[in-house]
Symmetry: D2
Subunit: 481 residues, 4 copies
Amino acid sequence: MAIKTGEEYRQRVLKRKPKVYLGGNRVNSLMENPTTRSVIEANVQVYELAQRPEYQDVMTAKSHLSEDIINRNLHIHQCIDDLDKRAGMALLTAQKLGTCNYRCPGCDMLSAMASIAWEVDKKKKTEYYQRLMTYLEFLQKNDLVLSGATTDTKGDRSKRPSEQDPDMYVHIVDRKSDGIVVRGAKQHQSGAYAADETMVLTGLACHKGEEDYAIAFAIPTGSPGMSYICQYNPYTAERENTDDLSYLGNPIYGQRETCLIIFDNVFVPWERVFLCGEIEYTQQLIARFAKMHRMNCGGACKVGFIDLIIGATALTAEYAGISKMPHVMDKITSMVNIRETVSACSLAAAFKGREEPQGSGIWLPDDAYSNAAKLNVSTGFWQVMALAADIVGGLVATMPHERELENPEIKQYAKKYLKAASSAEKRLRIAKFLQHWVAGLHGASTWHGSGSTQAQMITLYRITDFEEKKRLAKDLAGIKD
Amino acid sequence: MAIKTGEEYRQRVLKRKPKVYLGGNRVNSLMENPTTRSVIEANVQVYELAQRPEYQDVMTAKSHLSEDIINRNLHIHQCIDDLDKRAGMALLTAQKLGTCNYRCPGCDMLSAMASIAWEVDKKKKTEYYQRLMTYLEFLQKNDLVLSGATTDTKGDRSKRPSEQDPDMYVHIVDRKSDGIVVRGAKQHQSGAYAADETMVLTGLACHKGEEDYAIAFAIPTGSPGMSYICQYNPYTAERENTDDLSYLGNPIYGQRETCLIIFDNVFVPWERVFLCGEIEYTQQLIARFAKMHRMNCGGACKVGFIDLIIGATALTAEYAGISKMPHVMDKITSMVNIRETVSACSLAAAFKGREEPQGSGIWLPDDAYSNAAKLNVSTGFWQVMALAADIVGGLVATMPHERELENPEIKQYAKKYLKAASSAEKRLRIAKFLQHWVAGLHGASTWHGSGSTQAQMITLYRITDFEEKKRLAKDLAGIKD
Amino acid sequence: MAIKTGEEYRQRVLKRKPKVYLGGNRVNSLMENPTTRSVIEANVQVYELAQRPEYQDVMTAKSHLSEDIINRNLHIHQCIDDLDKRAGMALLTAQKLGTCNYRCPGCDMLSAMASIAWEVDKKKKTEYYQRLMTYLEFLQKNDLVLSGATTDTKGDRSKRPSEQDPDMYVHIVDRKSDGIVVRGAKQHQSGAYAADETMVLTGLACHKGEEDYAIAFAIPTGSPGMSYICQYNPYTAERENTDDLSYLGNPIYGQRETCLIIFDNVFVPWERVFLCGEIEYTQQLIARFAKMHRMNCGGACKVGFIDLIIGATALTAEYAGISKMPHVMDKITSMVNIRETVSACSLAAAFKGREEPQGSGIWLPDDAYSNAAKLNVSTGFWQVMALAADIVGGLVATMPHERELENPEIKQYAKKYLKAASSAEKRLRIAKFLQHWVAGLHGASTWHGSGSTQAQMITLYRITDFEEKKRLAKDLAGIKD
Amino acid sequence: MAIKTGEEYRQRVLKRKPKVYLGGNRVNSLMENPTTRSVIEANVQVYELAQRPEYQDVMTAKSHLSEDIINRNLHIHQCIDDLDKRAGMALLTAQKLGTCNYRCPGCDMLSAMASIAWEVDKKKKTEYYQRLMTYLEFLQKNDLVLSGATTDTKGDRSKRPSEQDPDMYVHIVDRKSDGIVVRGAKQHQSGAYAADETMVLTGLACHKGEEDYAIAFAIPTGSPGMSYICQYNPYTAERENTDDLSYLGNPIYGQRETCLIIFDNVFVPWERVFLCGEIEYTQQLIARFAKMHRMNCGGACKVGFIDLIIGATALTAEYAGISKMPHVMDKITSMVNIRETVSACSLAAAFKGREEPQGSGIWLPDDAYSNAAKLNVSTGFWQVMALAADIVGGLVATMPHERELENPEIKQYAKKYLKAASSAEKRLRIAKFLQHWVAGLHGASTWHGSGSTQAQMITLYRITDFEEKKRLAKDLAGIKD
């Protein structure tokens, strides 16, 4: 069986020294820095979930290449049930981690990339699909963590690459006999430094003349020329400076940790190049990855987050003695409704998925429902945050440090005045958990993870068959053309 | 094959003389009164859709009783695919009629009633299920239009039946050797007078002492003691007084037509009684019907209506020359997003349906998603109305009668000044179609069809497993109990 | 005193025979046709409100021309208190009529037109302001009903006048020694046929070459070349065909009645021309009228309508026995909040009004708040409709004709089953009143009255001082340029 | 003149040693701890604004006691213009500080307390008003920072004080000849430790038997028995651990800093007691303070914050090269609309203010508009956050530390890849500023500052005259009672 343990993964990470920067300094040990470590711990947990019998149906799959049981994060979806379980994995890991499954973008890229590679090969007699399958076999056999990167830094958004610093989008700067050399950077990337490998897709729907930007490839973590600049925010500062992780809102797994990946003349051998110059397939490559990712990251994963927020909010209400107040019940039900709505969109995307292209054996989700999932979560997540903040009360903002409960000078006051229908300890702890969710980066991250809403709006408009709807209206209204 | 034609149905209707009142007068001929006729025409069209090869997959099913091909409106759902197609039928009829499939509540009652009858029989050694199947065979063999009624008139909502006029809820007033006698009235009922039969379910989750209210039965249209009082509104007046239906917004099928059904000591033979005093099953009977109906009437049907509104709005924008304005594209896309969201909830309800009770062979949709479908459509439909009204402009309110285009005194002005990027005729016609949707009864009807939002909120709260969500939050927050 | 009676007005109307068309036919008597009569009755009531001592503070003002007490509808605002009372008049007439004060657009045009005329005269040595004041004296002395028209029919919205049928915007077709000749049509116009006079403003922010479109003038009702085509909708049909107005939702005053006014080579003498070719002032003329009208028609008037809907909804809840249910109280409070929000925007527009231009003595409301009033009401009114429809229940859509309560065959049932915590009569009557509001034209009308939301969005963007806000942000963020 | 300088204030603070705890430790110097210092700096800035000629109209007032020019934060409002300027002060300080004017609750308490004291004295022959005026003279003469505290810790919300630990609400534990002794704690309190004095009002609408809870008093900072436990959150950690404040989002003034104030048998002399046992005035005392505070903290202050967010968002769009994209313009305009709406409610509250009680000379704002201001900002602020997060893009969450731009190992990459239409420095700085607003505590704080939305909903329902609205509806609907 090709399922590895978290410990095996941890050992691999310990051996690598990628150039990672955080807070203005080089990170010498990914395991010692508390922020980068949170990513490793999340990855370890994903390995461990795949080992637990009760989750194997969701967390593992049978490889279509080897018939081996593999981690589902490395699976190419073969049917609707696979898509359903893919969404189920996003839900489960979100519930268990309260942060990214950092293997998620890589997973969603694999099926999208396979689908395009199959199609390009068929039309252009290339051999991308076979290359990709060879690479996939390697990943599956070793159960590697595959990360994924797509968003270019873009520079001035009103300009194409040729109208500004050409490196604002990752592109080929040299073609050699054994591979290509690329330059540029990918931003908003989740946890690549702690992965084994990273798949990189063009983020640009390329026009004629932009052939050098029409690329897709995979690369081992920390390859020569690569650097990683980590995000830094108040939550990073809090984690850096605590002596006890249990004081934090999501102690072990923390916030979603991203980085800016820099490619400074990085060499990629041909065996790892899966698109190279075929501009006419770039829009579809992005669109297919986007719909995979909007179903999972945009949809199902956030359902898991919302479950955590609902659970914490319900606890909060209980602890404060307000859980039976009608307006509290009403607001919690509104949160549930948002949860079910996003979940339904994600599931409908899976259930109305289809083989794409026909004959490829690769199944991708429905376009409209996956985009609707993301649009609903973009606004819905803020509503959930606001509703939770409403019920938890001012405490979520004004809470003191949990250490006050241990400070001999003050603890008798802190314990006395922060108690309610439960102890001060519990109230502070659940309030801290909710602070992590409703007074931090999750609103903004959810808005942009798997693409901004404007991207989804444009997609929805593009894929809707308005002619059919016009025909239906004309038929009933008695308009003949 | 047990599929009948619209003409056979029309002949049956012509033979009946139920006591129907509209606008303060008895309706002498259901076919001649333009309002009641619209219901008949809709029913005829549903028969005809079932005859068209391209729709047979959706509109027909194989009977689990006889193996005959039957109209899907009379089918007991046997699997998830049946639920999916049931939602598909709701979508199709909505798109083709722009009003109710008047067989819809009856259809949704059949599976819910079967599920409860099966369960009651198992627990109480009754024989309701067999009775129901015998009745169903009769319906299927003759392909009859089965209507359904559930909402009692309720009187003072703050009181139980025993605290006020006991007839405010339909109930048994006499039990005889051959059957029961019932009294009361059902309101908001869609088109019963034009059906062949009506199924009647208790609308009250009965308490002890309310055994007489715990009933379910079926009855032929116009049985002794029954009267029907039709709704009357401005759209009724407009239909009554036009000399040419093509001037109306939905010329043939009109608005959703409802009535108040009065039962004044109506006798029901035991063979048609499917629940009689089992108060402990009433809440579940209502809940199971509700989730069926919220998936279909609350969800999929309104998706079809929204398709019509989107199509008409897109035409309107085209006719006015504004279809490429960014804010118009954005608003139409928002309508599409609402459409896909409601549709996804309805589909998820089907796909996550289950056999209920286990062993019964009867499949019912998921509770949470069907309720979410209805909650989304309640607010979403008004948003769609508002967006459509925004784009179509003031014309939807201020439009003159289409006859002005034919009036010799004025037609040169009317044609000249009402034209835009299209002719005045087309603009008026599509504006009239939209007036029907955005300046009429559909907002209010959609809010209440298959139950008010408060009913869905209560259901969602009741069925949500908050303990599981609290557990997930505690696990991550490090709270041990 | 220059305050006239409703009866004097009625006598004037009876003497005129404008060419008015409704439902495809000429209206021979405005007093006999029940639809056109509703406009006259509304005007009569506005005269009568001005006679009642308790309303004189709001309904009348002291003329700045004659020092006479005049109807406020003919007043040029001289100070902030005038603006406040102008909004107060809009509120009062809305509460008392449940439809337009048909003198409202004319009133709002007077101050806007005066402000522009004063400015043009000052810059261009024209004499528009004096002409206008002479005309105003005539209006004030006779207390005439002044209507107003601005929205051109526009034809294909993607084209300027010169790119299509030039008559799609009202324009000068001939200039004579004694006046101008105009052609075109104005749409969405409220009740001009029942007014004494109509003021007509360009609806086009004119470019160079469009001088013939840069016009403003006044004209007596039914002048040669003018025709009026009335709106026609289901509510018109219902009113036309009832034998007893008390069965209707707003028995006396009905819906807002609009018309399309056609100008077929209509002569306007110079004394009534207030702008003629000054293209550079057209945008400001429209903007100043718009902000007046958005404060009043967009803001305060709709507050009065919302008061009626809240009152009726509260009655409905009382009649049904649900007024103490928490979700009902919560929803009614949400309606109140929308009401207060729109009202606040309207009031802030008045209170932050200013003399414009400086030295003119004419006071106009604030731009931002008046536009915000309209934006809030556009979406808020639909929310109010939806909330009212939620509470009133399905009855608002499914209610039978009130005549059923008098029909000997059926009345015992109708009275019995439609009663609740009140009689069936009262329930039907208030339900009919609400049907008028929540299942009719008011949603769409409110959206477009005083301009579509897109017009307000563009205005808000244009008038906002973003540079000041950027400066504030830079100062705090420590960004120096 | 009774206007003091910031430096005088700073010297006073340096002399005091209140017991302040933060992060589990005693704060030894309020000036050295970077968090408590941010409060002092904000207070200093408020003193300085009052010295600047361009702001004197807003920041100062003429005392009704001494005729001296005083800081407006210590003024009792004497007319509508005072209320308007009070709101203007809230707006200005918000724009200039990006955090609390920490004198705001004290200011709002003064007029509310004076209004109640005047009324109680008149009814009960007490002497609270004179005591308060004497105290006020002392405050005004020395231009002291008066803080305010009202929210009790409440414990189990489903219980009254007598049903649980009685100290869950601040109350009298002893009455002596020279004063009272109080015990309990006040939470969510803004910056009291850095004030000169604190006014404390009951937060409980007291029932009979709860006389000991019906209190109001003032007390110098750090009086014996008082302790302060500060809030602690990720932003505190970030501030604690930075070596350069300019790396932070709001470098000098930081987040809104609150504390829990503990009163452990604190003695208050009678001269500083302004309510003592008069339970029948407690609801009104809370309500009058609430409406003052909802106009200012709930309304005008947040308008200033929204200005900062709009400004920063506009800069962000400019820096990224997207400021002319239609959807960006549309979203920014939506932010402006929310800004104007909240502002309008706040202004309407001022303009419709009234003398209360009649004869007292004290002016308080309108109830409905002040509550509507808060309701609009509660939801509106989250919408503004979401819209800003949408436009600024993922960068607001994923941004690295600004120090990366100075790190020799990586700065060439950081500068290159984080630039857009502007330099990386500016983009990071404005993104950090926005992170402070949209990825932190402001959403939750805004929700609860000046009371949760449920409190406003209850107030709005209570103060609305539904009978008048019912009457209006009945009049038009033709319902006679």
